[in-house]
Subunit: 217 residues, 6 copies
């Protein structure tokens, strides 16, 4: 490299560095990468927005119970990166789940990307998860108690008590994802072909159709 | 630190280094960590064994088709770290799946720890996976073709053809794990309580019991 | 490799596989690796214990408020892998923090290994974190609200209200670690030499000694 | 934060959330991030495209043998993220390698980003890898057998048999990369200076030039 | 999928592949992802630029000592991804730190994203780090010696010698970040409220104000 | 779970917690995991030792130049986890490389597990790396300058100057591993069969044997 090239390069490095350092908040990008939810560019996670504030790290949506007047008598309210853009790249999120009394059920589901740990806010729940060798780990948990559902394994919570129940859940992912087993198989769009479900669950086609009709949105 | 301490330390470092370098194969540990499947010590993955050979990286168990005379008409044979100890820490494994003609089904299941990519050895399969917003992605694949099942999502393969089918599957984990949805929920030990399954699938207790009786081992 | 070697190897693989499959719960290790807190062997995280139950995933210690009659008027109670061995390798944990009214302070600290997200159980808190370019992001949060403290950055919470406050915190690590800045610098064992603290905080030696005397355990 | 600001923020969060949820397939991004190979924006991996289908997870290019009428008598056909955009972020890929009889050679190379496991489709191969302490691990593998080449280590396969051979390879990366040692050193552009190669391989300049002339494209 | 769709798809795959392979340097993206520091798009790390050269992997800015005529008598010069764009995605960087004689201090700080290892170029330093249980690990290091500061822990270096000192530091991150404890707490913008600092360090408001006035930029 | 079981469990948790907390340095394990190089147990990395000191984070072995009176006229001295046990789990290490004048060569090699960044201590070097599409990136670097060699790619340094040269290298791994290409292929034990090398480098068997004889240890 000739001397003049070297000078040019040093000059360019300085120019680039200056251009970078005089922009709004370059170092900030390194500590946090607040999701720009409005961007058209999609990456693994989200691109970062340039201007951020404390409100990007705040959420007020878990303060009130979710409605439980639905098929299962339970509802989950997320506090993920979609609600708290500051969570982007930080690997953690929360949710609140509310359960109607006398059978409110968060039906069997998995989180493909995260372990879940719950803290019971109110009431009492029967909870369980199943490992890949088909062993069930279950117990009853009460107000103030914690239980863990390992990453990717099917699990559920049911409120067999007589009062409403609620939990705060912590997840080891900014967006853990939720796949409800019955909905995925019997209420997908387009539908899974009958033979897969009939043979997979060892039921007749009429039962397949019955489940479909009750779960479809 | 006094001069004598310094001398002592240097001496100890040399001694430790020598002790290390005269052991059997110290650098080997760094390139590979062959699973010591016989060890009583359990860690995330496996502890490494001291003496290794090329055979730790070899497996002959996928050469012949697995038997398909079972409930689902399909069987998976693993080539994971349990069969190939050299795979430990290396993040990849394989399996062979064989399907009987006219309905051989690898029933809906997830791999909690890996994406799967299949290559069709023989025959033709209808395959699909479902995303967390309940969309089904499915198609038919034939001999020599590939299809991908993303990590943690429910998926299945069925041989609707008239000849046997077989695939080689590659996984992005040394031990991807397999959770068959119906078995996990209806054939676990101890059993999941009926109300969770009845409400979760919107079926009666008698259907729950029927599925249980057919799936239990 | 001679034919007899091959036969021997196949035989050994079968023997090893059988030895493995007849042991207690081999597949379990893959879904979870419950910490054996009593083991003498120390690894990154913990070795796994052989016999596990649902109670390994349970903790009851966050149900009651922690005592706040200490120097800072606040106390943190952990629900980490040390309390819930089932959390080992799963990348998430919780804690409960209680704050006395009128100034209860969780003093400036970092978690070297995790982002923290809090949910306010009771009361109201002034919270903040500081980025590496010395910008403060702070606000008041109330019952039912969330706030995020990004990984590794100095942060704090103070209860400037007139009633006790409490939060449930979720962490993206099984053991996030906590380094209280003032304790680390002024109450370490052995002590940091005075000149580092005096020059680092631009204070006199007598102020250094004063802080030491008040913070030392 | 003033009450009006709070209302504004809640309103904005709702607006942003709605804007997000009415777009095509927001949750999909979380389960998969199908590579937009046509995008001008380059990141680590690929940006995700908005509209996806089952065909993004399909590839038909490994069905037929690759041509082996080249210098080495072998050819590798990739089924990586460049051919199957659905593999983006999923950490696995495949390839097919075909070998001419009587010396078809996949010459010594590394995959900087992945371990490789092969399954022999046809024929018989002599395979090996070398660890960083210069130990060779090699053996013969036949139809239906597997062998593992650990990440980053130099390895090769040669068909010393009298019929064509072929393998399906699985990789623990969406794009493992391949660096053929001889090509990298003797056929780079611009060329590596002679002294490095002559001294590095302890050969004369005329041998360096000879190798160059035979390997250059 | 109809035959014509299949043909179309194959055709599109070929077209896309060709479009990809005829572009400037497609495979390059996989080996390296040189930061495009001028891009408006911000991701976790940086987007990659299309045209790269050896100079993207070079930096000349650590050759000369940094000025030490400042408050602390020490200065750090970074060789991170901001100075060497080729470091993007590669997980390592360097810095040079210079210390004035007789008390030049790199004041207590953390690197939220990296462990640091130093090599002493000149002079002699007293160095230390503090673990989360408030234990100090410290010693004196001289020219040619190394010391390690584990990720996220508070640490410092001071030149108690009579000649200038300098180190080369290696970091396990492309941009480790630096949070100086005293600056973060006493010189942030906006300021941390007095009560947090007064109570946190057990000092009076007047000392808080005094520290502020001396540290503010 | 019966009430007595619950009491028992709480009692056991307390007992286990106490057993844990009264041991020597439990929290330490979380901040650092100093390698116990003398342990018989091998894991991915190293098991941690119980008693640690500042000297576990110190090394004095890079102070003096390594001898360069060998085949290549260069020598590398490592400061990896094998020399500095405190580096275990921390993802970074260093080395010093010395080069004789007039051709001292660190011959073409890869580090399978790390990117390398060098800082020139003395002299001047011609350096380069080759990407997987066989492009060479090279230049001359002088005292005080940095250059980067991306992970897994073949690279080299040669001292074409008239005075000795030396660099300090930083690596993004506690034990990067080094595979010298020529040694791996021509000086392995057992040897790579001639046909692989002859065909792979397009040379005759006599050249293969010549290289072998000069490189063998």
């Amino acid at each position: 490299m000739a001397a003049s090239d070297y000078g040019l390069m040093v000059c360019m490095i300085i120019a680039i560095s200056m251009a970078f350092f005089v922009s709004a908040d370059p170092e900030m990008l390194q500590d946090v990468c607040v999701a720009d939810l409005a961007s058209n560019i999609r990456v693994n996670g989200f691109v970062c927005k340039a201007k951020i504030s404390a409100d990007d790290f705040f959420f007020g949506g878990l303060a009130r119970p979710g409605l439980t007047n639905n098929t299962f008598g339970a509802t989950a309210t997320a506090a993920s990166v979609l609600q708290i853009p500051g969570l982007n790249t930080l690997g953690v999120s929360m949710a609140r789940i509310d359960y109607a009394p006398c059978g409110g059920l968060n039906p069997p589901h998995t989180h493909p990307r995260a372990t879940e740990i719950v803290f019971v806010l109110e009431g009492e729940l029967d909870v369980g998860f199943i490992t890949t060798d088909n062993r069930l780990f279950s117990r009853t948990i009460k107000k103030g108690e914690n239980f863990v559902f390992p990453r990717g394994l099917i699990h559920f919570q049911i409120n067999n008590g007589k009062v409403p129940a609620a939990v705060i859940a912590g997840f080891g992912s900014q967006l853990p994802g939720t796949q409800r087993v019955a909905d995925a198989l019997f209420a997908s769009s387009p539908p899974v072909e009958n033979i897969v479900l009939a043979k997979g669950f060892q039921i007749g086609n009429e039962v397949v159709e019955q489940i479909r009709s009750r779960l479809s949105p």
